[in-house]
Amino acid sequence: MAETTRSIEIEVLRYRPEQEDAPVWQRYTVPFTDDMSVLQGLQQIKDDQDGSLSFRWSCRMAICGSCGMMVDGKPKLSCQTFLRDLLPGPVRIEALAHFPIERDLIVSVDKFVDKLEAIKPYLIPKEPRTLAQGEYLQTPAQLQQYEQFSSCINCMLCYAACPQYGLDDKFVGPGVLALLHRYNADSRDGGREQRMEVVNANEGVWSCTAVGYCSVVCPKHVDPAHAVNQNKVNSAKDYFLRFVAPKGGG
């Protein structure tokens, strides 16, 4: 890969509530090499030009989920989006859409975490087991039923992509519904009935209008749209079973 240094314009939507009433665009000229990510561009600004520019980051390798932001209007992890792919610029960078901005590129994560906590995102064992009994048996095929949905890094790009979440932030949303499905689809788990209350609620799967952009932007191929769709099927089954059997049905 070339090591030549070129420069690119990066425009950042700044918002500093202690200094300004409304967001403003600020432009920086950033030297870059072909192997530099958008995150490295922002780090160059912070280190050498303007220390007040604020953004979250940590792992640099698309696994910690911290550095989601809008890059030229699309939700991206800035650490695996490369400046070479955004030429000639200027690159426009904003905080993730659909979330309240706390400052600059930092959005409030609270509501997302509240939703995540609400769906009982932990194994509720179908058959409790002691440590002495060893591990549950789970075949590779059973693992495959939920593995993809367990790969969500909580980066929230899918929320920024979801038009429904943009309209109503009470919607549980794609990432958390995928996580819910991850546990429901786990052969060791018996908590589906408890979680279906969330699924069936107005803010659950039925809020989704099947746009599918969530799965397009997911950096980890979790395919939350697929998880939501599966739960629409489950929810519909629950609905009809309610007429023939007591709560939960089968």
């Binding site: 090499t33 280190d47 050498d48 007040s52 390798m61 400052r103 995540l116 194994l123 591990e135």
Partner: protein, 607 residues
């Protein structure tokens, strides 16, 4: 403008750091006694913690032909006999139950066809015993622990709270002071027990695999309050990292059969006592040798001019092509994507350029086998801690297990301590906290002509690489010590652009730089003082051999303010394994055979 308001809260147990170790400890406290209150404090949301980046797996004796003795021996010999052997015994004996516990909590371990947890080969491990979840083991463990922690109402999280001080009164750790990052307000958390679980300090080096948050915070806090940092000269270089960024290509690449090639396409490790080179992976040989030996071999190849020149310096090739795309996508999916998206290399079609980068700090906060620091009320666990299992070189896949086994121990010990002690005097702690708050605020209130944070950070990282890299000599280490003293002086007038309170990340970077500089000093001075070569600490200036007569001892770096740290030494606990020859490949087989023959002769004699 800055105010002096401070929130105050009393809890039974405060835990700083909510990565794997902190979360495991919090769950242990909650399970031991649900009536105890817990504050789990982290400068990031728990799922952002650096445990997330661990790839390869977690070791635990699992197969019928494996044994606790074998895991013990691999660990102790791998650590070049600087391990606390009684602690290693406890560790290997409790590893498997922790893996099963994680399984019960939902961790998506990779499976064998009959549904049992699968194990893979790992460097320096004689028998396959590394549990894994594809090549995202740390990610899955962290998310499993975080999500499981939500079950326990007694765990109160302080997400995005940055710890600026440990509060010590009457010779006892009694709480912490943290900044609520979003508001910039201060939070005093008074506690009967404090557990530090803040991870390592790899960011003191230039080229490293670590996330930006791995800045040695907890190490520096304990150190500044008189707790010695132990064995800090032992810093692990991981041999297969991405040029430029240092991002990690897991050891599992080699566990699955990957080769390391020099510029001639030659598997050069056979020239460094790791051979013979067989086409299939052989445990504890060639590419499955330990990390220190592999990184050292890279250095020698570079000296011989047999590495490949790349835009970021010398590299060798990690060749996975013979494993095929299908297998790579199943076993190493993240590695596949990293190579494609960051380097433009398809690992099924071309070798990946790699070089060694700093990965792990073997040393840390001095802890006994039950995680207790010499300072009553303080416990530590995980990479920040030196509980004594890694010695002079950690084996891959021992650290994820460590944070589970000792996370639980730390939780249980913190409970016992909290039950045996009441809260101290809140007013005294508040006075201490006010002073710490003023010191922290001084950084953003300072307006002058000081230097930028990044300037000092870069110089620190460069001098650490120059003086405390894979091979070391007295003159370069001394130069690094001198440079660090100079940087500490310059740090006193460091200048930030940002003078606001809410989400002032430049302020936090400045405080982190202070932590990094203290930890770097402990590393450099400990390294200079150890006049031998052992594990990851290798010298070129007349101290090339291991010296068990003088240095079969832990180094202890004690903070001395503006002066250089004081380096002293403490004993190493030997139970059943006297220091022996550390050998790998064919030579290792011979050494193992000799050791076993010796043992059975001894048993016969005693029988």
């Amino acid at each position: 403008m800055p105010t002096t308001t401070m929130q105050t809260l009393q809890v039974d147990v405060a835990i700083v750091g909510a990565g794997g170790a902190g979360l495991r400890a919090a769950i242990a406290v909650a399970e031991a006694d649900p009536s105890l209150s817990i504050a789990l404090i982290s400068k990031v949301y728990p799922m952002r913690s650096h445990t997330v980046a661990a790839e390869g797996g977690a070791a635990a004796v699992t197969q019928p032909h494996d044994s606790l003795e074998a895991h013990f021996h691999d660990t102790v010999a791998g650590g070049d006999w600087l391990c606390e052997q009684d602690v290693v015994e406890y560790f290997v004996a409790h590893s498997h139950e922790e893996m099963v516990q994680m399984e019960h909590w939902g961790c998506p371990w990779s499976r064998t066809p009959d549904g049992r947890a699968n194990v893979r080969a790992f460097g320096g491990m004689k028998i396959e015993r590394t549990w894994f979840a594809a090549d995202k083991t740390g990610f899955h463990m962290l998310h499993t622990l975080f999500q499981t922690s939500i079950k326990y109402p007694s765990i109160k999280r302080f997400d995005e709270h940055f710890c600026v001080d440990l509060l010590v009164d009457g010779g006892r750790a009694q709480g912490v002071l943290a900044i609520n990052i979003a508001s910039g307000e201060f939070q005093l958390i008074q506690a009967k027990s404090v557990i530090i679980a803040t991870g390592g300090a790899g960011r003191v080096f230039r080229e490293n695999t670590n996330g930006g948050i791995v800045t040695g915070d907890g190490m520096a806090l304990a150190y500044r309050h008189g707790v010695p940092l132990r064995d800090m000269e032992f810093v692990q270089y991981h041999p297969t990292c991405m040029p430029g960024t240092g991002l990690l290509f897991t050891e599992a690449c080699r566990g699955e059969g990957g080769f390391l090639l020099n510029k001639d396409g030659y598997r050069y490790l056979q020239d460094y006592g790791l051979g013979p080179a067989s086409p299939k992976p052989v445990n504890k040989a060639m590419e499955l040798g330990p990390r220190d030996r592999l990184s050292q071999a890279f250095w020698h190849e570079k000296q011989k001019g047999r590495t490949v020149d790349g835009p970021h310096g010398a590299v060798v090739h990690l060749d996975l092509r013979h494993l095929g795309e299908k297998y790579l996508r199943e076993r190493l999916p993240q590695i596949y994507e990293l190579a494609v998206s960051y380097l433009g290399v398809d690992p099924a079609k071309a070798p990946i350029p790699v070089l060694p980068a700093v990965h792990y700090t073997m040393g840390g906060i001095t802890a006994d086998g039950r995680t207790a620091a010499p300072l009553p009320g303080l416990f530590s666990v995980g990479e920040c801690s030196s509980v004594g299992i890694h010695g002079a070189n950690r084996l891959g896949s021992n650290s994820l297990t460590e944070l589970l086994v000792f996370g639980k121990v730390a939780g249980i010990e913190a409970v016992a301590h909290a039950k045996a002690h009441g809260h101290g005097d809140t007013a005294t702690l508040a006075r201490l906290a006010q002073a710490s708050q003023a010191a922290a605020l001084a950084i953003i209130e300072r307006r002058g002509s000081g230097e930028r944070v990044a300037t000092l950070r870069r110089e620190m990282a460069q001098t650490m690489e120059d003086g405390c890299g894979i091979y070391r000599s007295a003159d370069t280490m001394q130069a690094t010590c001198d440079k660090l003293a100079e940087l500490k002086a310059r740090f006193k007038t460091v200048q930030v652009d940002d003078h606001s309170r809410g989400w002032n990340t430049e302020w936090l970077l400045a405080i982190e730089l202070g932590y990094l500089l203290d930890v770097a000093q402990a590393m450099a001075h400990s390294a200079l003082a150890r006049r031998e070569s052992r594990g990851s600490h290798q010298r070129l200036d007349g101290f090339e051999a291991r010296d068990d007569v003088n240095y079969l001892q832990h180094s202890l770096a004690t903070y001395a303010g503006d002066a250089a740290p004081i380096i002293s030494y403490g004993p190493v606990k030997i139970t059943t394994s006297p220091p022996g020859t550390r050998a790998y490949g064919a030579a290792g087989e011979q050494a193992d055979a000799a050791r076993q023959a010796g043992q059975s002769a001894q048993e016969t004699a005693h029988g």
